[in-house]
């Protein structure tokens, strides 16, 4: 075995562990938010394990595809899933280094997620159903509007930390200690809006509806069934968990393990779970206290986020 490969082995192992762990937790987050939302509405809500039941059910179904669709239709969910998995390897979760730090930083992460979106939106046009086109069109529109705000928000934090590399960024934030700069609060608020938009939550999109006037992501994947749909659902859940982890990394990475000792990692696991849980509560509250916006009101919401990002940048560097 050449040294290059043996050097890469721990990295590959860490990457696989992280992907497996995140994939395992992701359905819990989605069901958890649904349950909390139900509780706020005085409903019982689905069990916490519902996400897993759904995935198991979908995976075990007969694969069914439209007869008008081509190979692009089958490739869509797979590329979407692969992009989410690859993106997971680029983000530090429990250790202050991304497993695949060698690949790149924030720009690559955003690009990878865009790759998944492109694949799914293209595939949605393949069945000939008007719903797919509608969903693809709306999804790409909102993504296009969210992109500058997302980038600017990320840049503000990254420039303050002096690195676009996610691992380096976390380490820099840890080194300088937690300073609550007003710019951080603004940038966080801006990015939180973008996370809501990108993960298809109210007030931008409603994950619980199948009404053609309101749905975006669900319209895009309406034709999918069985294992294909399971891949899409799982990747979406993973993406949501990833966005929340990203917020944690950017603004409150404290507690993340800086060494590979089991104790530190255990502490990091608890800290990460706690912070993601808090963010999930925030998402739940945002979903429960807002009404879904009309599609053409979404740009206003996104421009608020863009404004926050600009303000943060100005406060930080003026």
């Amino acid at each position: 075995m050449t040294p290059a490969i043996s050097d890469a082995l721990p990295t590959i192992g860490l990457a696989m562990l992280q992907v497996a762990g995140m994939l395992a937790v992701a359905p819990l987050l989605k069901a958890g938010i649904r349950r909390m939302k139900a509780r706020l509405q005085n409903r019982q809500g689905p069990p916490l394990l519902q996400g897993y039941y759904d995935l198991a059910k979908l995976l075990g179904k007969e694969p069914v595809r439209s007869e008008t669709a081509s190979w692009v239709y089958a490739a869509g969910p797979r590329v979407y899933f692969a992009a989410a998995v690859a993106a997971t390897m680029l983000v530090p979760v429990l250790i202050a280094a991304a497993p695949l730090e060698a690949a790149g930083g924030i720009l690559l992460l955003v690009g990878t997620l865009a790759l998944g979106r492109f694949a799914l939106a293209t595939a949605a046009l393949d069945t000939g159903s008007p719903f797919g086109g509608m969903g693809a069109s709306r999804d790409m529109t909102i993504a296009a509007l969210a992109e500058p705000a997302l980038m600017l928000g990320l840049f503000t934090s990254a420039l303050a930390a002096g690195s676009l590399n996610l691992g380096g960024l976390v380490r820099n934030v840890l080194q300088h200690g937690a300073t609550v700069h007003p710019a951080d609060l603004l940038a966080f608020a801006g990015l939180f809006i973008i996370v809501i938009a990108e993960t298809g939550r109210i007030p931008v999109d409603n994950p619980a509806t199948h009404l053609e006037l309101t749905m975006i992501h669900e319209a895009m994947v309406l034709e999918y069934a069985g294992p294909d749909l399971a891949l899409v659902e799982w990747a979406s859940a993973l993406k949501e968990l990833l966005y929340l982890t990203l917020l944690v990394d950017f603004f409150l990475p404290m507690g993340i393990a800086t060494s590979a000792s089991p104790g530190a990692i255990f502490v990091a696991l608890l800290a990460w779970a706690g912070k993601v849980f808090l963010l999930a509560i925030a998402v739940t509250i945002a979903e429960s206290t807002n009404a879904k916006l009309r599609l053409f009101r979404v740009p206003e919401l996104v421009s608020i986020s863009l404004g926050f990002a600009f303000l943060a940048l100005a406060i930080r560097f003026l």
Partner: protein, 721 residues
Amino acid sequence: MMPLGPAGGLPAALALRIGISAVTLLAVRRTNAARQLAFLGSAIASIVTGMTAAAVLQAGSPVHGVLLVHEASQFALTYTVDGLAAWFLAVLSLLAVPIAIFSVGYVGQPHFNRRSVFLGVAFNALLGAVEIVFVAGDVITFLFGWELMTLAMAALVATEHEEPASRRAAYLYLVMSHVGTGCLIAGFMTLSVASASLSFSTLLSGVAVGPVRDGLFALFVLGFGVKAGVIPLHVWLPDAHPAAPTSISALMSGVVIKTGIYGIVRVCAFGLGVPRLSWGVIVLALGGLSALLGVLYALMQHDLKRLLAYSSIENIGIILLGLGAGMMALAYGRSDVASIGIAASLYHVLNHAVFKGLLFLGAGDVVTATGTRQIERFGGLLRRMPWTGLFFLIAAMAISGLPPLNGFASEWLTFQALLYGFRSSTQPLVHFLFPVGGALLALTTALAAACFVKAFGISFLALPRSREAAEAHEAPLVMLAPQAFLAALCVGLGLFPGLVLRVLEGVMTSLPGLQPRADMVSGGLGMISGFRAFDHVAPVVLGTALLGGAAVAGVLAAIGARGFQRAAERAERAEQNISADQGEGVRGFQPGGEALARLKASRSRRPRRVPTWGCGGELSARTEYTATAFSKPLMMIFRAVYRPTRQVEALAEVSPYFPQEVRYHSEIEPTFERYVYGPLVRRVLRMADGMRVLQAGSLHAYLAYVMILVVTMVLLVWWRG
């Protein structure tokens, strides 16, 4: 590799082009042979050019020479292939060779019959002219090549001259190009007076000083900006691209408009001395404007070639964003930061040539197969043209800036230039332009992705939207092979950006005042922009991770499928047991024929195919989402830019509540054409009208003009002498 030394390569290529054109014209009656000779010969000449460029890039030392000497005056047309010229020549040859081979098939179509010889000759003339522009060593050579290029292009745009639209496009192109050339001549004359030389080596060594420099900068930006299609000088571009035959459009977008970029880099960034900060700001602003408006207009186009043309404007904008950031960094003396910006723009020049060339060739296939350029009349082409579709998809993903393809690599580098510019800038306030540029670039990239999801998805997926699309056939191998080559380049240039940067390092060290950091090009596979590991990228690693992710997806789907099969088998067995218990037939232990078939079907790994749900109605091309509908949300959101108008007309016979037919017409306002060029043209015409007094047709008046002129000149000489 070098039967021709680098010194002889370029004249050899030009001589080859002239010779081929001459022989082609002689063989005009044997259309087939002439066509093949012209295009294959042009491919060979482009390979020779490419080898010269490669030799210069490898050796790192420029090649000088003389193209032609006028015996009587001893005036020589000189050429110089330095790093920058070699880079653009390399881009040219990488694109010109596949296009030439594509053209052998494309121009062979019956409707080009009598024009194929003309196209072959003009193709060679155009490429030769562009080569002269890139290597010109003095003003005369440059302007000769520039003018030849303009004329060849105009002729090519007017190939289908019986169409009024083609004639108009060619005319518009000629007029705008000549206004630009006028600016260039004025600029070069000022410079040559200041330096008392026509040679670029002295002329472009920063001879101008003081406020003249700003005037010169403005002249050159105008002159080169027209050719590059920078907004607001772009109006010729979206008309010229669809009018020209496809292989010419590909060349136009990939190489010819890059001559404008070449000029801006050569003259504005490095030829007028150290650029001023305001110049960088102007280039950055023009870049941001072109990028955003270019992609916004591209989104609204439903003519595939027009869409691609507007997207070229967008990419010129992206190139200028990198260049502007580089110029600003040069202005405040950070040559290491500047080299990131310059490298980003040069990298994007190459990438845009590759993916836009590929997109145009794919569009050529589609237009040939269907006979229309309207996206709304395509649909379902992927099944009928699988290879064209695959290559088009790769190019669409590359142009959308998706990793690990090449568009991402250069856009990544552009982001780095903008962020570094922000970090290293000492200018208060001005340095906020960098993140604004970054936000614009992010918006542009995301909108481009939306645009190309539309362009690919509506054209190639789902059901055919017209009879022509349903009867389309795949293009022949001679047209597909060049596309395969370009698609491979899209992937290769994206996966190995370090190798591209290594070549670019040589280009940058050859430019005055530019010094890339050593660690920027240290990686072979990845890119590092330097500075304490600020950021780096290694697309190969991401590619591997993506493959891993796809493998996981495959495994999950397979596990699911196996689970389903087991369940199906269990159900089958249970059914058999039931039927056995009921004692149906004597062969109770053997599965029945129908059940066996179903079991086999469920065991085969192919998913079941069912019709798409048509919302209760019948699914047809009429129920599909259209390109207009796809881009409608963005039209509504950016209505301040588009100022759309729409007309809905319901034709009813009995009652207005039961329309027989609804006609929907929507269009966006051509802002620049209407509010910038409209008044301009009117004013010019009015002035021309006023001038008619001078040119009244009276011979006496003309004689009087001559008289006045002679007297004035005599007086002037007498007064001076």
